[in-house]
Assembly symmetry: D2
Homo-oligomer: 388 residues x 4
Amino acid sequence: MAGRNHLYVPGPTNVPNEILNAMHVAMEDHRSPVFPNLMKPLLQDLKLIFRTEAGQAFVFPATGTAGWEIALTNCLNPGDKVLIYRFGQFGHLWAELAKRLGFDVEIHQVEWGKGIPVDHLEARLKEDKSHEIKAFLATHNETATGVTSDIAGVRKAMDAASHPALLFVDGVSSIASIDFRMDEWDVDGAISGSQKGFMLPAGGAFVAFSQKAMKATETSSYSRGFFDLKDMANSNKDGYTPYTPSIPMLYGLRKALDLLLEEGLDNVYARHARLAEGTRKAVAAWGLKQCAHPGFESNTVTAVMVPADKDARHVISTAFSKYNISLGAGLSELAGKAFRIGHVGDMNDVSMLGAIAGVEMALLDNGFDIKAGSGVGAAVEYYRSTAK
Amino acid sequence: MAGRNHLYVPGPTNVPNEILNAMHVAMEDHRSPVFPNLMKPLLQDLKLIFRTEAGQAFVFPATGTAGWEIALTNCLNPGDKVLIYRFGQFGHLWAELAKRLGFDVEIHQVEWGKGIPVDHLEARLKEDKSHEIKAFLATHNETATGVTSDIAGVRKAMDAASHPALLFVDGVSSIASIDFRMDEWDVDGAISGSQKGFMLPAGGAFVAFSQKAMKATETSSYSRGFFDLKDMANSNKDGYTPYTPSIPMLYGLRKALDLLLEEGLDNVYARHARLAEGTRKAVAAWGLKQCAHPGFESNTVTAVMVPADKDARHVISTAFSKYNISLGAGLSELAGKAFRIGHVGDMNDVSMLGAIAGVEMALLDNGFDIKAGSGVGAAVEYYRSTAK
Amino acid sequence: MAGRNHLYVPGPTNVPNEILNAMHVAMEDHRSPVFPNLMKPLLQDLKLIFRTEAGQAFVFPATGTAGWEIALTNCLNPGDKVLIYRFGQFGHLWAELAKRLGFDVEIHQVEWGKGIPVDHLEARLKEDKSHEIKAFLATHNETATGVTSDIAGVRKAMDAASHPALLFVDGVSSIASIDFRMDEWDVDGAISGSQKGFMLPAGGAFVAFSQKAMKATETSSYSRGFFDLKDMANSNKDGYTPYTPSIPMLYGLRKALDLLLEEGLDNVYARHARLAEGTRKAVAAWGLKQCAHPGFESNTVTAVMVPADKDARHVISTAFSKYNISLGAGLSELAGKAFRIGHVGDMNDVSMLGAIAGVEMALLDNGFDIKAGSGVGAAVEYYRSTAK
Amino acid sequence: MAGRNHLYVPGPTNVPNEILNAMHVAMEDHRSPVFPNLMKPLLQDLKLIFRTEAGQAFVFPATGTAGWEIALTNCLNPGDKVLIYRFGQFGHLWAELAKRLGFDVEIHQVEWGKGIPVDHLEARLKEDKSHEIKAFLATHNETATGVTSDIAGVRKAMDAASHPALLFVDGVSSIASIDFRMDEWDVDGAISGSQKGFMLPAGGAFVAFSQKAMKATETSSYSRGFFDLKDMANSNKDGYTPYTPSIPMLYGLRKALDLLLEEGLDNVYARHARLAEGTRKAVAAWGLKQCAHPGFESNTVTAVMVPADKDARHVISTAFSKYNISLGAGLSELAGKAFRIGHVGDMNDVSMLGAIAGVEMALLDNGFDIKAGSGVGAAVEYYRSTAK
């Protein structure tokens, strides 16, 4: 198919050519005396993205899914109770992983489209007088529904309940694109991955842990191997790794950090907010609904609901096969009911207008009652009136 | 500026990542026994793009401008009369180059927006009973005005006049994107460059000559050095070059040929025709005029005229600085009066919709009386109704 | 430092430019309908490298170390007894990992420089009448000592003892460079990594399991998450993955497989054998000893012992800082006593001669009593007399 | 053939991966307002390599051969007399080009192996009382014979004769690797190319002209088109080019300049001198002779003579087909009599030792009476005793 693929899945995201070039490097001896010159500032600067000074950041050669496991198995003990709200496929998978790993997982169902109910959380934690709950697992941005939860509110609820549980946050699709403040919100384990806001290929689990979490690793009796945080911390101290690292991933991350820090994190967040709002204007102009309820809209991905008589899979399939545009599918409960437009990573206004126009074509082709140009027109108006 | 630059100038065009990768190669000995394994099929397959069997194709490490010079200085004698119609900046430059090179250049002015007047040409050639005109210089696609001339008609006119002049065609912005038939149209010198339909960086002058033109090189007394066709032909015969070639350009061309031939030239032409027509629908929906008169519209670039009270340079400048979208400027007589949208090379529907939406924003910002979404809507309708 | 770094550590190895280019790709939707067109043949062809038809091959976004864990935790039950011979740092680390993961690890010390004592193994397995030993962990190529063990002999010993233990083989630094035959040797778990013979960056754990091992996963009660083989197998069945894969790693592997299969595995093995033998000739000419005892010499890495009055670390440090050549350090018990020359991956005769000459300079600089040119001369004679 | 090709032709030279990456860029509008931010400092810094403050540097999308033509056709008038000494194939070609271009070329034959005879030059210029000689064409480094001429001596001779001829220097294989001082030596036209010391692919003619030469362009009546220096200078003034530039070449040059200036030109020269001297030690150890007579040895290429009963082409062919090492052939008069080892560009000690060892193998294979390791041993001793 001629011309490039237009990628708007919410991960993996488009990797800028500068980053791909940075990854196109000769291998090198990861035990050389100069290797720490790469590694040490990298881990230091990675902390800036997590917005932590007190915590420690790590790079594992794995994915965000592994990040979930790293947090659980290093800071908790087998059978520990953990609490999670389930309001999307990725929260669901995290809960399932925790169950499989032998934890006692208390799952509360929340309507898909909403995020963490902080009042309920506060009440539940207050109830837990004996502090049986050892960790609260919070999905900051649920990629499946396009829902962002209020982590500041989560912290407030935990504090209000004076509950000592560790706070683990899945920030795979938020960190480096949506406002995230590890220290300010007292997050104990922040989990991200390379393939979303970091604009890298998958293959990097980027995680950060508070001192409280690091302390917990010392008493954890969970059996760990590859994902042992203490081994990683020990090697990292001198700028090395416990096993062969992915050299391209490290150089790619170096470039990604440079790009993010050069733009400025607040500008990165603001850009994503604008890109998302323009997309939402288009969705509204089409007369379609988002999966996310008001107040929960994500700035990295918009899940668009289709009317009951339509199948979102057809929209995605038309977009892909006829127009070479890749959209995210509705997952699990949302299969066929929603399609998702990713607006995360290396994107700007014109990128999103291409996406929106492409979606319009696929909607029209599938008999949606919309006016050609309506969505794009709404986005055009929004972007141009808010651009600097 | 975050996000990628959206490039819609009519050259250099977007180079597909496959081609950039193909150019990312180790250097090699251009006198090795295996070098001809690259070179010989390359020159052979390049002929397929020119649609010539009888002619010979060449790659010079230079640009399309050099191609003009190669044709003139190898096939003509100093002071020879050449005929050209001037209806845009690139025809103008070719005529100027011919003058500087010491040829007797007969220039006929044609309104910018129109192409070669084949009836006038026929009359003029009939007049030239003594065959003083040694070559006719035809700009197939005038990139400055978005005008395509009728080369089949040119040949018909020449034949009707039974005129033996050589036919040199500037196909820099047509060959490999707009229908071009060297053998069928009896073109003697076809000149193209790497940076348009070939989807390569600039730095390659791709030219092809008929046997008649090759024969003319034997008697030409023009002083030549770097651009000597006989030297090139002699070295090429064995699969070598008279001086060090650009290894990346050769491997890049190899990949470009593979991509073009895989898509199929007729499909390439049809794709450009569709992309162009969608763009023209948008222009019409905005109520703006093209520079090209009906029947002359180019499928690789559209020059859009702005009303007298507007300056097209502001549109271009807004597009670039506010939206990171690069448009072509109006050149020379068209400076300030037109902007140009390139739709040539590695493009598809969604690429063009991004361009059109970006232009809409810049037009609105500059006070053009258009409706947001109108241009994109028209293109959306056209593209989706004609896509396979 | 001017000029390129000359990399002769036994991993990560030099990645050919073709592979780095293959990894320089746009991201794509890993849930698209065309993704299996990449994934399915990839896993199929990966089996060819393991030389298995009956088994199943997998790609995890992790490293060889993770491969050890994948084999243990998927096919065994917590507390199961496993048997291992420890004769180098990597065998040591595998044993340690198994202990940490809660297995009952029976470790037999073997002199570093020797490999698996197959007679002892047979005797030990015969002793284990009740079949308490559930798996035997065999380090095919011990990268730390440059020692290759006889896996065919291991299988013979196991068969002689009619012992049903699973046979797990660490082939990280052997598979794709040293003769390895999964089916013929009835290997149950073969573990490799991307960064040695596969000529890729680290970040890929390539593993293959026999049907017997796959069956064992069904009854394993070990808690697994990220490394769950059943999840991977389920997704792979349809050409997908349970979580976001590293797109560049997959395309890189595709290219690596193409290169390996084009050369032919037997030719790959023969090339490594020649490169290794030339290196050994040089070591002998210097009057130095290898760590590997006769019969155990590895074809991917040679560990060279230095006399008692010398420190191998100085050789490595001179080589690196003065000549930009990277050698492997002696690890653990061998620290300071040995340096290692990797001859694995994208190497040929001239590559090795550069390495050997570089080592000569570093040896002379450190007061070793050798003659300049002696090692290279020996290798020159060997290579030229055996080259085709 | 497995493993990489080892390239030791004296151009194109090995392009460092950083430069290839710098050339792997998206195209951009060469008429954009930010384009001069790239172009202006590039041309300014290029002057540093020519060691000129007073002169002006230019980048033409062509090759060094075109550089010869640019100097001749822009600064001279048709039929002007030029003087040249012919002592190698490239001087020969320059003289031939000048003849074809219609100049009156006075050629003096010099034994191949020697360089410009400055005493003879002084005498000849003194003879030319009427200053008929308008330019002296000096080949700084004759790539065919591995001979470097004394340009400071040339200037002294010209001054001693008080001769006003322009001094044009072919520095294609010297500039950026061998000491060259445009201002100090009053060079009027310095001609180089991208594919030698600049470590770029071919495709860039890098030239610099003195103010005297620039002044001469104003009165030159030679017919020029593509290579017109005034057009280029006019466009360059504002940071633009008269026709589409090769974007990758410009970014590649940017990186090359950064690398050269970071290393420091004097260090670059010293490195080449060391690399050359080591190569010469090896040649001497083999008992072979260089083409270059004492005092004329080049630091970028060594032409090695073979005994009368040997054919150098067989050495080159064995090296290439058996060992994947590319050597330069003897050209023209030297065909079969010499092979050439390039030591120019991105090279260091270990690179050269690989080359020398490779040549040893090819010599032995072809029955040369040399001792394996002798050449490498001599180079090892030299490099290690002179390395920092």
